[in-house]
Amino acid sequence: MCESKPRIAAALMAAIMLLSPVPILSGCSDAESPAEEYGAEFGIDYGSVDGFVRTVTGALMGKEIGIDGLIESFLSRYPGYELSLIPGMDSDFAIKRTIGESGSERRIADRIAGYVELSADFAGRGNFPGEGTYLPAEGETVSDLVERAMLSGDGTERDLRLGISFRLYFDADILTLIDLGSGEISGASVKLRMMSVEKDRSNFGLDIVQKEDGSPESLSVRYGTAAYTSNMFVSLGADLSFTGLRILGGSGSWDLQAGMTAHVDEFLVSSDFADSALSKALDMAGFDLGGKLPRLIMNIITSSDRMLDLFDTIDSLTGTEIPDVHLRADLTASDAADDSGRRYTSLRKTGDESGMEIRIPHSSYAVDFDRLLRLVPNYILPEEKADKILLVLAILGWDTREILDLRDDPETSESIGNVFDKVDREIEDDKKYELSIPAEYICIAAAGLAALLAGAAFIWRRGI
């Protein structure tokens, strides 16, 4: 945990600083272009992932196997069970850029939006275990325990069903101003909306209790329909300011200051999200919730069916308006070029030569996945797993990836519009709450109204 903290800071800093260079990332030399409007769209669906898997298995195993084949071979390890697993995936990302000039200033307005939708439907029939708690054997891992428990049937034929869907939508509007006289970024602002929706439905449940070292303590198996909805929506705005961030015409090395003020407009969380993901995420990020966040607030947040605004709830109970976040950093910038001769401005925290480097490309740009993956905290992505991912990416030829050129053609415009529309629609739909008045209150209200009207009629007849 301690080791991961510098990485958290690094990830935060990366998030902050990456927001500003995005507008000038492209293969089209945008930062040096006159007024234009164009965009790009890029999607990955189940078919393309299947193709990647075939490429990877072909390279690693000498035989191309698709996702279905992998699932089939996995399920065939459990003879005597009728098992099926149907995965689903869809994603699309789009960027639209409008560049204009007013006076001595260039304005680069970008909208970047996209979504990822993942799902899996599992069905199984066979001799599954009875309800109860299972204890681990000596040295048994969590997955070993789960496998052993699930195969230890009690002689009863059971049907198991599990449906999981996870959707993530994001939408960012970024405005960057470049002073054409000095070649410096004079300011930038970002508006970001992000919604995650996770819905699980199953007719069984596994509760795994782990020890601090990650080893299993117990596994409980229970049957019965359960639903879990973990939703989160955040809407925030950030203003960035720079002093001395030369993009056009910089040379050598120089110091600059960066500042950011971020304001959260909405932070809606569902009770399941607050109960699990929020607590864990805040805990991992260093927000020790234990005893600090008033119990009443957590009670309120976690007992509601609908998403509640965490900040509004805190405000209504404590009178505390959550303040804006202000960050500042002294950075050292230098003009540099990568192995392929692509020029970029390199940014590092002043006096921290070994720390994280942020690159702001001058024209064409390549995403270095190795650098990006190393920014992810260890507790989220352990180093050995990152190595495996990088190996797969290398097989796919994706370890370094040229960013797609932004295009200005009707077909691209239409597909960009479709992505933006979908993101807008889904965010609005998921923010809406499906109203359901509990039946007992409808009955109480109906009975009460009938009694009230009867009473009123009785009094009226008797004379007021």
């Binding site: 903290k5 990020a285 005893g291 009443l296 303040p323 109203l435």
Partner: protein
Amino acid sequence: MNAEEKKRAVAMWGLALCLLSAAAGWMFMRFGQAWSIADLPQSDSVGWIVSAYIIAEVMMIPVAGKAADRFGCRPVLALGSFVFILSSLLCTVSLTVGMLATLRLAQGAGAGIMLAIAFTAVGKLYEPSKRGKCHELMTAAFAIGSLFASAAGYYLTDTFNWRAGFVVLSAMAGAGFAVAWKFLPPTSGSEEKTDIADTAAVALLFGTAALYTQTVNDKFDLLSVPSAVFAAAIIALAALALALGKRSGNPALPVRMGGFEKKLMFLMFMFSMCGLGLIQYFFKLYLAYYEFDIYAASSYFLLLILGAAGPSMLGCRKVFATGVRPWVLTGSAIVAASLIITHFIADKGTLQFGISLFLFGLGLGFIVTEVLCSLQTVVEKKDMGQHTGCLMAIRMIGILVGNAVVGSYISEVLHGSRVTRVIDLNATGNALEEMASNFFSDIRQASASLDEGLMASVLIMAAVAAALAAVAYALEKDDVSALRRDGESPGER
């Protein structure tokens, strides 16, 4: 006690239950409103769920009092209860926040009518010397409803659903009305026709004043241009209501009352502002101290009620004989002292909290019921609703003004103490950790500022309470004891 007296006594319990519902209706959604309506579509109008109720309630109190003089207590109570129960039941099946806020407006109107009738009926049905016990019952119902509604609302929402609170309120009001209707003897009305324009102006005046108290701290500052415009509009409406009242043959406001009554109205307003107006902030402060344990914080209000019970029970029985002056003089001294004590010790520990609340209640126990009893003593029964309605509306406005003034002051303190924190990425190893630390220290800072703001306000209120002793001293020449010496008081007619 003969059969007739027994029936009246039972009717008073029914009215007290109606009053308890009306008082609880305001505060039961006060804390965690967002949570309370969590299964309704998101809306920016959430704040109106509480505000709409109190605005309509205050607006209807003087109107209902006057209507009781015109039509008698029973039909007006029937109307108020019907509106309250109907709107409460419909609240349980609200589809939107806007619909809920509108129904809360209707519910508040019903509550205002029930509140006015509860206090008016005591004056109309009992002789001055026997009103004390009934007013004690009504005041207790009002206090319990106001002080414990937040905790009860929290419990019902946490255990069942926010809708359960409305079911309980409508059931209480229904039971109270049924008992009151069965046993309440008819009270005579008057043939004098209601002056619609005058009554509408009075309703508008009190409604606007209540609206001002609900928006001043939320939408704009106390010392700002919108606030001044609003205040000017209230003054203009007051002038209009008074002018219409003086011209009217049957005014809604007691525009021709004597100096004694005016002083009582003034004292009721000021003590409500200095005393009851602070209670919400006491509660918020307690919540912060008790790590937001709403039940622990609420339980301390028992001490306030305990403090008020003794002098109130004694005062409402004796004030008819002794006059109100000694009670208000003693009460203002104790309130001033208790506020000073609160300022110095209340935040030192739970025991000190309890002591300051007990003393605070003790002081108010000498004043509130005694002023009400005294006012009704000098009023003729045919005008009881007009005077009682006006006094109770002024009392409610006093509470709301106290709330708004203290709230504005505390907002100022909170605002002044807010520090803009800048996280220097060069100096910190973990920006998120620093953000977390800032976040929690902001909450602590807010609690401390709330404490500081309240404690400063408390001292100012103490000075005001002490100054009110001078007004109380000036009550002597018109006091009810003098009226008693001169013979039958108007309240007996």
